[in-house]
Structure formats: C-alpha cells, structure tokens
Amino acid sequence: MDFSFLSQPAFSGGGTYLGWVITGIKWTMLVSIFAWIIAFTIGSVLGILRTTKVIWLYGPATVYVEVFRNVPLLVHLFIWYFVVPEIVPRTLGLWMKQGMPMPEFWSAVLALGFYTASRVSEQVRSGIQSIPRGQTQAALATGLTMPQVYRHVLLPMGYRIVVPPLTSEFLTIFKNSSVALTIGVLELTAQARSISEYTFRTFEIFTLATVVYVLITLTVVVIMQVVERRLRVPGYIGTGK
C-alpha cells in the first residue's frame, strides 16, 4: 500500500489526485443531501396520505409507492437522464440536456430522491399505524378534528417511533448515490475508478474510498443517535430506562 500518488499532480485540470477524491466526496454529499430533502418531504406526505381513509388521498399515494419501490434504482436513473428529455417538448428537452447546469447531477438527485421517497413513505406509514387506535379515538372524543389529531397526536409520536428505520434509509441514500456514476456524476466511486485508471493504484484508492464511506455513514449514525435521544418520549418504546 503506497498512498504517495495522492499528492502527485493529476493528469488533467491542475490539482492533485487527493483533490479528485475531495471533489468526489463533495458530489457524494451533495447528491445524497439534496436527494434526502426530496425523499423526506415527499415520503412524509405520501406516508401520511396512505394512513387516511379517503380513497382519492391514499389511492394515488399507494400507486406511487408500489410503482417507485418496485422499479430498480438504476432504471429510475436512466429514465430521468435518458428518457425524460426525449419525451418532453423539444425545446425543453434541449434545455434539459444543454442549457440546464449540471444535468447529470439533477437527474441523479431526482431519481434517488423520488425512489427513496417511496421507502420513506412506508416507514412513516408504519410509524403512524403502530400507534394504538385508542389514541385517535380518545383525541377525537376530546373534540379535535382529524387534521388536529394528526398534527398533535399521530405525527409527533409516529415520527419518533420511526427515527431508527429512517436512519437506515438516510445511510442507504449515501451508499446508493454511487449509482449516479453511471450517468457521469463524478462522485466518490467514480473518482476512485478514474484515479485507479490513471494511476493503476486500484487497491489503495478503493480502500481509501471505503474508509471515506464508512466515516460518512458513522457520522450520520452518531448524529441520528443524538436526534433519537433528544426526541424520545420517556416511558415509551425504545427508552428502557
């Protein structure tokens, strides 16, 4: 193992190979965080809709979840990147391919975000549905309306219950972001591959990439543990003491 190549000047564009690794980390973080914002927002809305009793609310949400979680992530990515620009009106399509800044980045964010939203939605739904029905009935009996029941009873409890599985989804999004390399986002795995191509230091660079992924995900785990500790309801599940 010899990591001295990292400080060597890179083949093109000035800078060093370490600089390539750092750009890779930057894109991995950006893709993951933007995708997570989409996933969490849309996933929450869908998850809540799926717990309602109104068909034109839970119906479309169910269709979305089943369509999005049953199609492989790679296919999502290719649809956003290769197919969507060809089926929209020609000028818009051209803009998506040439005018729009960083088309591959936004395709990756949308694909990863919408895909993960279907998974987040299932976590949120299971959180809400795990609350005993008696609580809803009690809340309605005190004169709250259904939206108020969600706002003050179901959601505050439901979200707390699903913090651990949501942590897993958040970790997964960092790892899934490596799929973006197939459409040319130069994130960490893509950079590792091209550095290995230029320097032939395959083992070293992938070891480094592995360590970086582990560090990123460990950081997320630590942060989420703090969140979990702050938010937990004394005397409810998962607290123990």
Binding site: F11, S12, G13, E86, L94, E104, G184, S194, E197, V211
Partner: protein, 305 residues
C-alpha cells in the same frame, strides 16, 4: 473506536493479500493447462474489433485473431479439447481484470500505450488508427478549436479521453467534459445533442456512424489528435505465453492470412446490421504487418503532458 481500528486493519490486510496473490500468478500456460480453459476478454460495442452479434456472441476482427492464438495454444499444450470462456470487459475494467487473472488475453480495441506497458504486455500491433471526433453535421463544427466552451462526451479509461483533455488544457478551450461508460452510450450523447462531440479512434467512429439511424447526419472530422496502434493484451513477465501469442500473430502476418481476416471485417458486410465499413487497409497497418512490432505511444497523444 478500538474495534473500528481493528476492522480497518483487517480491511488493509485483506487488500494486501489480494495484491500478493495477483503478483505471484505466473505461467499463463500452466494456468490454462490446469484449468482446462482459456479466458478471453471481449468488448461489447467495439465494432468491428470486438462486439456482440444478435445472439450475444462475441465476434470481430480482434476476436478472430484471438481464436487463431487459441489454436496455437491448443497445439502447444496438446489439448484439443481446451475450452474457451468469454468474459466481457470495458475500457475501465480491462487492465485490472487481466492483471487480476480473470482473463488471459484481451481481444478488444486497446491502444498500445507506454503507460499501459508498465502494467501489461502487448502482442504485435494488429491495427493502426488515431483520435478524431464525431459531430452532428448541423452543428457546424469544423475542427477541434470550434469546441470552445462546448460539451464533449468521452468513454472513461480511453487514450482518446487523455488526448482530448490534453488538447483542451493546452489550448485553454474550456470544454465541459461528461464521462460515459462505453462507446455506444457516448455516441448516444452526441445523437441526442447532450454533447457536441465525441473523441474516439477514427475507425470506431466510422463504424458507429455506419450503425446510426441516419449516418448522413454525422461527420468524422479533425486531424489525428493521437496515433493509436491496437494490440492484444496479456499479463506481463510471462515470456513462454508471450512467445506463443507472438508466434501466432506473426504467423498470420507471414502467411498472408491476415488479409482475409481484414477483408472479412472491414471490406465486407458484417453483422448485426449488415453494414460494410469499406475501410481499406492503411499504410500504417501494412507497415505493421510487414515489420511486426509492439511499439507503444505516449499517453497524451500528440500533446505534451
């Protein structure tokens, strides 16, 4: 934290072991004899050198030459029932897969570069080409300097990527590069206007163009940005195997059999779309056949780097 450190040590150790075993693997002939199988790396879209036909079977000029080498290996090992296994490789994976031992020969469209010679050995040059670009006729691009500020797509891990980037650095063109994983996908980016140009070995550009829906919409332009002699790759420091391979290739050159193979792939209709490339043998290739050699070229084409 201690446990984490241990885990890291284990990871590093595992990587160390793999490196060691890859380096110890010598004697490809022995390996082939023991396994009873020779593994051949092929490409999926390097028409007409190495690609898949409509039955997903690898075919092409390079594959044909490799099969002649296989015949020679069979004779050498006295194994008439030697099995041939085809393994798909890409521009990025071909060298690690070869040095890692999962293929014994790479029969694709690989440029013999001095830099790669540090990793692998080459059989005598079997084709001579160079980097040009393909653009849409309607784009009005006439030369490399018209690419200023435009988007260029490249196949990752190719010598053409380096030649184009070196040119961009030297002329300060401010080209925006997008990487792609194979030639078909790169050409698709040009077809769909995602990229203005695609730098590649000219022969591959002509074959991509011939396979397009409207070949007349595209032109291949430019002076050679690099010279690219193609050759079959094998592992380094294996003189016994290299001799068998070299003898087989030179044998084809001396007997003139190479001309028939060339005609079959470059001057006749070829599957799967029944196109004829009409690409007569270049002076460079005639020379390489007359005086077989495996001289490599620099990494950045005709630019300095």
């Amino acid at each position: 934290m201690k446990r984490f450190a241990l885990l890291m040590v284990a990871l590093f150790a595992a990587a160390g072991i793999t490196t060691a075993s890859a380096a110890e693997l010598t004697g490809t002939l022995k390996k082939i004899k023991d396994a009873g199988v020779i593994k051949i790396g092929h490409r999926d879209a390097s028409v007409p050198f190495s690609y898949l036909d409509d039955q997903q079977k690898p075919i092409g000029y390079g594959v044909d030459i490799c099969m002649k080498i296989v015949d020679k290996v069979k004779a050498e090992l006295k194994m008439s029932n030697l099995k041939v296994e085809f393994v798909p490789v890409t521009s990025q994976t071909r060298i690690p897969i070869l040095t890692g031992g999962n293929i014994d020969l790479e029969c694709g469209s690989t440029t013999n570069s001095l830099e790669r010679q540090k990793q692998v050995d080459y059989a005598p040059t079997y084709f001579v080409t160079g980097t040009k670009i393909i653009v849409k006729k309607s784009s009005g691009i006439k030369g490399y300097d018209d690419l200023k500020g435009k988007t260029v797509v490249y196949t990752q891990g190719t010598t053409n990527e380096r030649a184009m980037k070196a040119y961009n650095d030297e002329k300060n063109l401010g080209i925006k590069f997008i990487p792609s994983k194979d030639h078909a996908e790169s050409f698709l980016a040009v077809q769909t206007d995602r990229a203005a140009a695609f730098p590649m070995d000219d022969v591959l550009l002509y074959s991509l163009r011939a396979g397009a829906k409207n070949p007349d919409d595209f032109v291949v332009i430019g002076e050679f940005l690099s010279d690219d002699p193609y050759a079959i790759m094998m592992r380094k420091e294996d003189p016994a195997f290299k001799k068998v391979v070299d003898d087989a290739v030179i044998g084809l050159y001396k007997s003139g059999e190479i001309n028939a193979i060339y005609k079959k792939w470059f001057e006749s209709t070829i599957p799967p779309k029944n196109i004829n490339l009409n690409f007569p043998m270049s002076e460079g290739l005639k020379e390489a056949i007359k005086n077989p050699n495996n001289t490599g070229v620099g990494a950045c084409g005709k630019m300095k780097c």
